[in-house]
Amino acid sequence: MAIAGVRCRGRGCFVTSRTYGVVVVIWVAAAVLAVGWSLPRSEMGIEAGEEALPVLAPGERTSSASFETEDTLPSALKSVAIEPVQGEWRGPGGHGFHVAIRTRSEAGYRYRQFGRAVFDLTLRLDESEVSQEPCTSCHQGQGRVRGRVEGEAEGVHQNVQPTHPDQTGAQCLTCHDAEDVSRLRLERGETVSIDHAYRLCAQCHFPQVESWAYGAHGKRLVGWRGRRVVMGCADCHDPHRPATELRLPMAGLSLGGDLLPEGEGGHGGEPEGDAHD
């Protein structure tokens, strides 16, 4: 009797070509099944019958999350004063946004907490100049000085050694309003509050300020959605000395303080480049 191409007579069995055929058919069937299973069914897409991932319609905004409530807002940011952006500046989608007011805020919003560690995010490093202080720590509108004797003011501001704008031979009054030192002079004679310095910066640095308005430049406070609050130009750039200063990089708090790619302490060779703290 021949079963699947194996013919057996007595105690011997012969293999016929039908055997190979059967085996090939089985193998092909298995391969087809395997391919059919493994063909990706659009890993990124939606399975038929499921509801589609909801997508925002144009103009629709995601809801402000609970991050604006008291207990989720990082405490360092509670003391930020904000004002709507001035002039014709708009954010992505043509919406307005808010600017953090440096002169009235606590310096606290430069501190952020990650885990249990608190970081100081100031880009401006030099703390020796009076321009690091909020103006209102001495001035209270119209240039009046709080608790100081008139005439001592020049000595205080002598510390400021501007390197910017330097190519144009500019001086203090190029930017500052002579009448009210807490206001800045724009080209067309208009004055703006020092809190909205971006309008002055934009006169020379328009591309950067445009990027800043749209979010490709600068820092956003709080989170990625909801009300948009951004830091002002002077929060990162010292208008008198704006170049980024050198600093040592953070090394990571590994117990060995080692900069080698992890795990190499005792294993294998060292990576490219030298590593020292």
Binding site: I3, A4, C8, W27, A34, E264, H267
Partner: protein
């Protein structure tokens, strides 16, 4: 009732032997204990005790695994002629080949388990109670095909031996379909392992269509080479009669496969070095060193030299027909392919890292100990299987329930 006696006599066969046998088994046991201690250290302290790191995340264990899957697949070189082509010379040695496959598979599974970071979670791989990512993950395929092949190679010889033990001829209708299945399965286990590496676009050193064929060629060279050595040892130390024809045919298979393997290596080398791109950096690291890092250069050059030498030696008829030179050439070929397919394939895939960083790999004592332990385990299992199978095949071991006439009846395979 036969089964109980089968197991008892198997146990007796495995534990009785000459002093040489006991020394061999005792030595292997020592190595296994050393490996167990190394694995204990690894379980206790984590894989940090090995030389692997986030850059070179697979090391000696997976290198050996890759090579040994080929050894398991190589048993098909005996199964195919013996059962399908009905070559008489091979029918006497096919059970030894299947024993080698079982030992190699257990070693493979052993290397995978010791490489896992959380081995006690292996049950996650089982379907239904776990979650096996079949068919998308090649590793899931590997789990299935390796265990399936192990089952085939345990059950078919068991059935044949048990039938012989009972004084009966095994029924071909029962086992032949599974034999045909195992022929295709053997090819597939090694292709799956090759695809495991070749399917990764992140590793240009492996991402080549030649990986599958190259794996098969090197497996069919190194596998028969090892089988030749094993058969010569069986012929020397036991009264089992292994004809010259089987060995010479195996030698021919190994030679042709070794030649094909060399052609494939040449093809890979040409592709990497004729017009090197940044995809060739791994090959450059392997053969010439990269930015001063050259830990594997001597290794691979030795391997190529030995490989070429052994292949040439085997190609020369007088050398191949001389048993002593044949054994030496086979051992050299086996070792050369182990070097090339193990460390010479897996490690350079990680150097340089996908982001261009170069971190080299150096195995630690834990890895050496565990590797030695697993190799010892494989050799131990192989020895036990051969020690159990040969008396049955020689007709010396039969069930006590058989009559005198049944005991001496000639049996077919």
């Amino acid at each position: 009732m036969h089964l109980k006696w089968f197991l008892l006599s198997a146990f007796r066969s495995a534990t009785a032997g000459s002093r040489r046998y006991h020394l061999w088994m005792g030595g292997l046991t020592l190595l296994m204990l050393l490996g167990a201690y190394g694995y204990y250290v690894q379980l206790r302290d984590g894989l940090a005790v090995t030389g692997m790191n986030d850059h070179v995340s697979w090391g000696l264990y997976i290198s050996n695994f890759t090579f040994l899957v080929g050894m398991a697949a190589a048993a098909v070189m005996l199964v195919l002629p013996a059962y399908v082509l009905k070559d008489v010379d091979f029918t006497k040695v096919v059970l030894i080949g299947e024993g080698l496959a079982v030992a190699a598979l257990i070693m493979c599974l052993g290397f995978v388990v010791v490489d896992l970071g959380s081995p006690f979670r292996s049950w996650h791989l089982t379907p239904i109670i776990g979650f096996l990512n079949f068919p998308r993950s090649l590793l899931a395929w590997d789990v299935i095909v390796l265990n399936g092949y192990l089952a085939l190679n345990v059950l078919i010889p068991f059935y044949i031996l048990y039938s012989h033990y009972r004084g009966q001829s095994p029924n071909p209708k029962l086992y032949l379909p599974f034999v045909y299945l195992s022929v295709f399965w053997a090819v597939s286990i090694h292709m799956v392992t090759a695809f495991l590496l070749a399917g990764l676009p992140a590793r240009p050193f492996w991402n080549s269509s030649l990986m599958g064929p190259r794996f098969l060629a090197s497996a069919f060279a190194a596998g028969p080479a090892l089988i030749i050595v094993m058969l010569v040892m069986v012929r020397s130390y036991t009264p089992y009669d292994i004809g010259k024809e089987a060995i010479s045919k195996l030698a021919m298979i190994a030679t042709v496969a070794a030649q094909a393997n060399l052609v494939m290596i040449l093809s890979e080398v040409f592709k990497e070095f004729y017009f090197p791109t940044h995809h060739s950096l791994s090959a450059q690291y392997l053969f010439f060193g990269l930015h001063g890092h050259d830990a594997l250069v001597t290794w691979i050059r030795t391997s190529i030299f030995l490989n070429v030498g052994a292949t040439i030696a085997l190609t020369i008829h007088p050398v191949r027909h001389n048993p002593r030179y044949l054994v030496i050439a086979s051992l050299v070929l086996f070792f050369a392919i182990w070097m090339d397919k193990g460390m010479g394939l897996v490690i350079p895939g990680f150097i340089p890292s996908p982001l261009g960083e170069i971190v080299e790999y150096r195995a630690t004592w834990v890895e050496f100990a565990v590797t030695a332990g697993i190799w010892a385990l494989g050799l131990f299992i192989f020895t036990v299987l051969v020690k159990v199978a040969l008396p049955i095949e020689m007709g010396q071991s039969r069930s006590p329930y058989l009559s005198e006439e049944e005991r001496s009846a000639p049996l077919s395979h």
